[in-house]
């Protein structure tokens, strides 16, 4: 399993592009690997014959695991095979070994007092084999989970692959899940539980502080306890199949997005704030440079780099918005790594413009274009997708009036642009009020009230909107 990016620890075999016995050339695509960040085709490191596909499709393995064996001299492999059959068998080819172990644990096949002994022996045997062939990790064998572990993971929206296992051969047990859940609980929350403010009937929890807009009062927003999902009595109704229904199993990417979104919503209390932005000047600026830009850069100048430049400028003025929540601490990032939400065939991706604080509008536009092409050509790398410190989302022409995005954890805020539309607006011209046709947009900010209070959230959004309105950018 190759290293697909700095922060990537494992990958899933999405699809084998070769089969056992195939002759491959160096750099020929071997396999499609999907990670939590990206899907990539992996080229063959050597030329030779595929002597064994160790990993199966759908299997998740840590970086450095053996996924296939390539025999550089195909002919020798043919001779060697019958010579060393026991070695072949001893190798912990995950699915086979798992099956062997499963058969050994089946008590009906072995006399009872032996059964409990033989089961771990089989696993230990496989582990010992792995130890003698260190590059062949046996982790893949333990990707079967007990029913209670699967159920608890589903209830709490956990990716079991991330839970450290302490059972035989690294198996994830019920106790491991409980420990993991405990570790997810922010320790501060258990020490000082949020004041129990029950939402009133009209849904406004902060109603008593009526001098401030709802949700921004100095009182803490009522937070859900972290164990809330699944802990309660609610279960969705049992699915009743109907003719014509299409069942789409979650892809790994979908599962990770889901897990991330649930985590974000349950761990960080989102506050939504909305600004109305007059983009007339910004659109004029864009119009003025559109042609020259296209000729010079070879791609169109859109609204997005201008909005990104405004966001970066506002983040510089409000560095606490360019931050991460790490355990019980807020980490204020010096470098502004601006994530830009992009749609792809496989779902949402958020490539990151690194060190955006030093970029001009043109620089931001170039970087955005580079990332956009990589997404389009499915060449985006895990490193392109990691390290963001703040996110800007532009759903585009059909993005509707406005909407509040879910915060990309562990960041503390996300801006979401609404549709750009001409509206009649009252403006002031030389001291006199007048009705004018202006290009307007709603800009929505979701911020994490654990670490960002209303004053900061409001000021940041207000400032971002004004920077966009002023449209004072070099092009």
């Amino acid at each position: 399993m190759p290293q697909m990016g700095e922060s990537v620890i494992e990958g899933t075999i999405a699809k084998w592009l070769v089969k056992e016995g195939d002759i491959v050339t160096e750099d020929q695509p071997l396999v499609e690997i999907s990670t939590d960040k990206v899907d990539t085709e992996i080229p063959s490191p050597r030329a030779g014959t595929i002597s064994k596909l160790v990993a199966v499709e759908g299997q998740t393995l840590p970086v450095g695991s053996v996924i296939a064996l390539i025999d550089e001299e195909g002919a020798k492999a043919q001779q060697a095979k019958p010579a060393a059959p026991s070695l072949e068998r001893a190798r912990p080819a995950p699915p086979e070994a798992a099956r062997v172990a499963a058969a050994a644990t089946e008590p009906e096949r072995t006399p009872a007092p032996k059964a409990p002994v033989s089961a771990p022996a089989a696993v230990v045997g496989a582990a010992a084999a792995a130890a003698t062939v260190p590059e062949e990790r046996s982790d893949g064998e333990h990707r079967r989970y007990s029913p209670v572990v699967v159920r608890m993971a589903a209830e709490h929206g956990l990716d079991i692959a991330r839970i450290p296992g302490t059972g035989i051969g690294g198996r994830v047990s019920k106790r491991d899940v409980l420990k993991y859940l405990e570790s997810l609980r922010p320790s501060g929350a258990s020490k000082t539980p949020p004041p129990p403010i029950a939402p009133s009937a009209n849904g406004s929890a902060a109603a008593p502080a009526s001098s401030r807009p709802s949700g921004e009062a100095s009182r803490p927003v009522p937070t859900l306890p972290p164990s809330a999902p699944g802990a309660g009595g609610y279960h969705p109704p049992v699915y009743q199949p109907r003719e014509g229904d299409v069942v789409e199993a979650f892809t790994r990417r979908r599962k990770l997005i889901a897990e991330h979104m649930v985590y974000s919503k349950t761990h960080s209390p989102h506050v939504g704030t909305l600004a109305e932005v007059d983009l007339t000047k910004l659109m004029r600026l864009r119009e003025a440079h559109k042609r020259a830009f296209q000729e010079h850069e070879g791609f169109a100048l859109t609204m997005l780099p201008l909005a990104a430049a405004a966001t970066v400028r506002a983040l510089k003025e409000f560095p606490r918005m360019n931050a991460s929540v790490v355990g019980d601490s807020l980490v204020i990032r010096r470098q502004i790594n601006l994530g830009i939400a992009m749609d792809s065939d496989e779902g949402l991706l958020v490539p990151v413009i690194k060190a955006a604080e030093g970029m001009s509008v043109v620089g931001l536009a170039r970087e955005m274009e580079r990332l956009r092409r990589k997404v389009q050509e499915k060449k985006i790398s895990a490193d392109d997708l990691s390290g963001g410190s703040f996110t800007l989302s532009n759903p585009g022409r059909e993005g509707n009036l406005f909407g509040f995005a879910i915060i990309n954890q562990p960041q503390v805020g996300i801006l979401r642009m609404g549709e750009v539309k001409k509206r009649p607006v009252v403006i002031e011209v030389d001291g006199a009020e007048a009705l004018a046709i202006r290009t307007m947009m709603y800009l929505a900010l979701s911020y994490d009230h654990r670490v960002v209070d209303g004053v900061l959230g409001n000021s940041f959004l207000y400032r971002t909107a004004r920077i966009m309105e002023e449209a004072d950018f070099e092009l």
Binding site: P111, P113, A115, P116, V117, S146, V148, G167, I168, K174
Partner: protein, 326 residues
Amino acid sequence: MEITYIQAINQALHEEMGRDENVFVMGEDVGELGGAFKVTEGLLAKFGEERVIDTPISEELIIGAGIGAAVLGMHPVVEMQFADFISCGFDQIVNMAATLRYRHGGRASCPLVIRAPSGAGVHGALFHSQNPEAWFTRVPGLKVLAPGTVYDAKGMLKSAIRDGNPVVYFEHKRLYRSLKQDIPEGEFTVPLGVAEIRQAGTDLSIITYGGTLGQSIDAARIVEKEAGISIEVLDLRTLLPLDREAILETAKKTGKVLIVHEDRLTGGIGGEVAAIIAEHAFEYLDAPVRRVAALDTHTAFAPSLEQAILPNTNKIVDAIRNLAAY
């Protein structure tokens, strides 16, 4: 009052015969000899030969006569000298006694108790070591009991005599004089069909009964000490009807279940218990349900072979360790 398992059975018979003159005992050598194991000692002298009847060596006859007496309103307690020979009366039990109430549309009953000294570990070899309880646990109309404590040996026999249905009562020979317990002086009974938690725990459940109950508790304590885990021990006591609620409750509580019985593995009641758990507690399981039972062979006479074939505390300890680590 500390008494042995065998004394508890003897007391139960004395008390029930004293309480109800329709209760009588019948079997091979139960009168003059006081029973091959002395379970019925003292009964002949106290209640006379009309109520303590020595019979010919025919289990079919003994059970058949018991059924006849039961139908006419008596409460016979018949003894199989060894449970191994209960198969000689098999037809009378499964075809006659078990169906009687059904054949008469509920208007007749068969309040018969069949006492069957069962179990191995006493160098009894093939004909004096059997645990034939599972042959009867799938016969509607019967109740099948297997007490594993002195208290239950007494309380469950008394309940069986008063139950009004044919009851097969398996008493474990190895426990007769090895098991002692302080039990209350006065009158008590133990409800049938209700399992009992012998020790509560959270990490692993052992479901057992009869001869392996004590071994399981010993094994649990050993592993609890060395591994710092908490083990629940559920004593089934009644094998028909099974206490499904108690089985599911403990399985759901710990997610890891070890079933232990001295009966053979294949076709033992443990298979049914495992199936109940698989069907109704699947989503609570954290490990495969495992079983420790006698090997699928006949109990050998040679002590080393007998040890190898039967479950014991060490084998249960090993099984607990492996399941706990799973």
